[in-house]
Subunit: 512 residues, 2 copies
């Protein structure tokens, strides 16, 4: 990180060039101030090949709002942009454009309606709607997507890991392999999504979530190279951290050396009045080693020590390790549930880069333009019906059934206020199919949008990690277990209201 | 991006917590100032599943050096770190530690030997070697890896795209899907690796590489929604950018509407004395459409206009599109070579996230400790021989043959200076196998390391994108074509010198 990047990401020029060139066209046409609406949505959940997500966890909003509040056209950036030349050698942007661009500081005229950070969101729903003058709406397309796509991707992956790890402690160790300084927003998103803490020290402290960590192989290696032993290294660590002693066992030989040395040190600690924390395993068959290590620790009287695992973990690996423990532990005299309860997981690369599906395909699409005081719906047609966008200003609702479970997300025309006391017709977004929910099928319908930005300022408080986590947990509890399944999840229902379905059919027909 | 992240990435606490806790152990043991050497290397080239890299392009060094020069222990960060508690409720870090940590500003005692940014690097070679007091060497492990892994990953992917795109213009459009503000270093790496320009405006201007772009579907949609037509939209764009008019054809219907409207506007432009730039295709069968569009444009007299493609492109997609053009274009009366020469490619998600293999597994391993004035080799053993590290202080050399081709990278003991005038024994890094190069097989041997950081300051000039690109191009020209192959590349030879092989066998034997 250096000054080069620092200013760049807080600039109004943190966007794609074509947003600027298009904005200039709108200005010349006199439609830069025409009001427009753009929807933010993704078409498909992350798919990691052998497994896929059944829902996403929304994150990144706070970062986006912070950018909106801070973004300026710095004089240096303006000077650089003024050097851009068109094909004939003249200036690419004129003075009127620069005047307009400077005026966009503070995002005048923008209203952002959005779901809250940490909430569960689904494919095909407009989880953010931007209503703004056309030029500004265009300018912010790229920063909106940039600030939301990656954090939502990582929060979603963390939620899956949280599910696989059951109650076990879950730690983000991804900093060294993650995408440069984006590991900081990545860590924040992982915390929202369900990791308990991160090794990433600076950002964790700033977020008020104390960082966590153990020690590396190098500690043992260095002390050996200087004439000591693994036992010396463990003792040195225990002496400095007698009440936080978690030892890495596999620098020399996990079962032959690391474990007996750790038990020696643990006994010394206990004799001195301290309780050891536990051990970490970083190579080999982690399920088998967990059982063997647990048996030895139990035998030595350290039944409550943590057994932490790391090494290319993801949700399926954790799930399989826990399955194997349930099957094999009893034959070693270990009760599986007790072992599972003492496990912890350090996840790195596969979380911070969302390995297997490294991008969320969130898009930002024009759905309406104001014309003569009314909203004119707009949509991009496609040969593939599922890729056609749904036109018109919208609202987003969630329907709950008598068990308190979320049964469907309902996308409506913006001014609709569906209630559970009348039959509700749910239309498939792309096919000619519908079903009806009777009042007996519903207990409540929740409007999911709130105003995130209006009148030049953010309208929601700054993010509290704990609140976003609580929202996620509450939403997850209201999901059908089939939707939360790690593999082949049940597809959650996303439907259009009758009015919106009619509007979509009308626009499609008139454009065909 | 906001203040939260800005300071965090320039802090000495931009590291994993365990680097700090280990450093405190070293201080207590009195070995914090013991000199150590750590190698940076990766074990395997990126593997995207159906295709894999045969080499990598080194990037990120300049960002790392900038962090080293700027990293401070800010008072706020120190205050936050001082709040950390051990298991007994006492302070986790003591005053001596904080004194030491502040002293690490400027990286005292660190010497970084490194290959130059833009150069081709190979699996299993120490492309960076850090020699430093043990505490500092440990502290910087995470920032070293963080600053190098992601840019090297992206530069490598860009180089593959460059290869697939042949001479065509190659543009980075990945900002909206990339990892938050890491799209800025990502764009820089992509430029080093071979893209011609990026849509990412702010960072491109700061790097002195003018950004590029066209227009989006929303331009056409908005004008239609306000009562106009696609032709009106194209005319409006052409009027503002008469000498840079590149039109997106697929908002309504590529061949039925977009193309004829574009030709109409192109004819009007030419009549007014301007030459149109070209068209962009963003959906459908891009190979087939390219041929059809080229035929129509040729027929209308626009033989030199660019045909730009976008939509989930990667190196294999581009390669297949060009194959298809070579096979099918003649039957439409189009000469394939002429069509290929006018193509351009906008690549997004798959470049900026390295989709398919989203992380480089670069590691930072202790290889030696100074003891009684001599280097004591150290290595981490593993049950898997290929995962065992090679101990000892090292240098890195590249051997060229009589064609000027790089035939092997040779890892040696640090003080070895191999020359091409004596037989050279090359040892397999993990197996008992060797071969000998005779003087007639070699024309030169290049030492690849230079000093990147020493005596508290960077020792290489700030990065110039053009220089790094030139280094990459020169190195690529000296690679065997088999190593550059997009699928199943020939494995480049990486060997140990006889002295280093003997040292590795000795350490392994003594630890076994």
């Amino acid at each position: 990180m250096n000054g080069l990047y620092e200013g760049a990401a807080k600039s109004l020029l943190f966007t794609d060039l074509y947003q600027l060139t298009m904005a200039q066209v709108y200005l010349r046409l006199g439609i830069g101030e025409a009001r427009s609406q753009f929807d933010v949505f993704f078409r498909r959940y992350p798919d990691y090949g052998e497994h896929q997500a059944g829902y996403c966890v929304f994150a990144g909003l706070d970062d986006l709002l912070a950018w909106m509040a801070a973004a300026r056209l710095h004089p240096d950036d303006e000077a650089r942009l003024r050097t851009m030349r068109d094909g004939a050698g003249g200036p690419l942007f004129d003075d009127a454009f620069f005047r307009w661009l400077r005026e966009q500081e503070g995002m005048p005229g923008l209203t952002l309606r959005t779901v809250a950070e940490g909430r569960v969101i689904h494919a095909g729903t407009p989880y953010v709607v931007a209503e703004a003058p056309l030029g500004l709406a265009q300018l912010i397309e790229t920063p909106v997507l940039n600030h939301l796509n990656y954090p939502t991707l990582i929060a979603t992956r963390a939620a899956r890991l949280r599910h696989a790890a059951r109650g076990g402690s879950l730690l983000d160790f991804g900093m060294r392999r993650g995408p440069a300084h984006a590991v900081d927003p990545g860590t924040r998103a992982a915390l929202i999504g369900g990791v308990d803490a991160s090794s990433n020290t600076g950002i964790s402290l700033r977020l008020g979530v104390p960082p966590r960590g153990t020690h590396a192989h190098s500690l043992v290696q260095a002390i050996i190279a200087l004439g000591g032993s693994e036992l010396d290294a463990f003792r040195a660590y225990a002496e400095v951290y007698p009440d936080d002693c978690l030892l890495l066992l596999d620098t020399v030989d996990t079962l032959g050396s690391g474990l007996p040395n750790a038990i020696t040190v643990f006994e010394e600690l206990r004799a001195a009045g301290h309780e050891p924390r536990g051990v970490r395993l970083d190579s080999g068959d982690l399920a088998f080693l967990s059982i063997r290590v647990a048996a030895e620790l139990d035998g030595a009287g350290f039944k409550d020590t943590t057994i932490a695992l790391s090494n290319q973990l993801d949700e399926l690996t954790i799930w399989q390790i826990l399955q194997q423990i349930e099957e094999e532990a009893p034959s070693y005299g270990i009760e599986p549930a007790r072992l599972v309860a003492r496990m912890a997981y350090g996840v790195g690369t596969r979380l911070i880069t969302s390995r297997g599906d490294s991008a969320l395909d969130g898009v930002y699409k024009l759905v309406a333009m104001e014309r003569d005081g009314a909203w004119e719906p707009s949509s991009k047609q496609s040969d593939t019906p599922s890729k056609s966008t749904t036109p018109g200003p919208k609202a987003l609702h969630r329907v709950y059934d008598e068990r308190g479970r979320a049964t469907a997300d309902l996308v409506t025309v913006a001014d609709e206020r569906p209630t559970p006391d009348a039959p509700l017709h749910l239309h498939h977004p792309t096919e000619e199919a519908s079903r009806t929910l009777e009042p007996s099928d519903m207990t409540s319908i929740e409007a999911l949008h709130e105003v995130g930005w209006a009148d030049g300022a953010r309208r929601v408080p700054e993010l509290e990690i704990a609140e976003a986590r609580a929202r996620r947990e509450a939403d997850e509890e209201r999901l059908d277990p089939g939707v939360r399944r790690l593999m082949n999840p049940h597809i959650y229902h996303v439907s259009l209201s009758s009015r919106l379905a009619r509007l979509k059919r009308g626009v499609t027909a008139s454009e065909a």
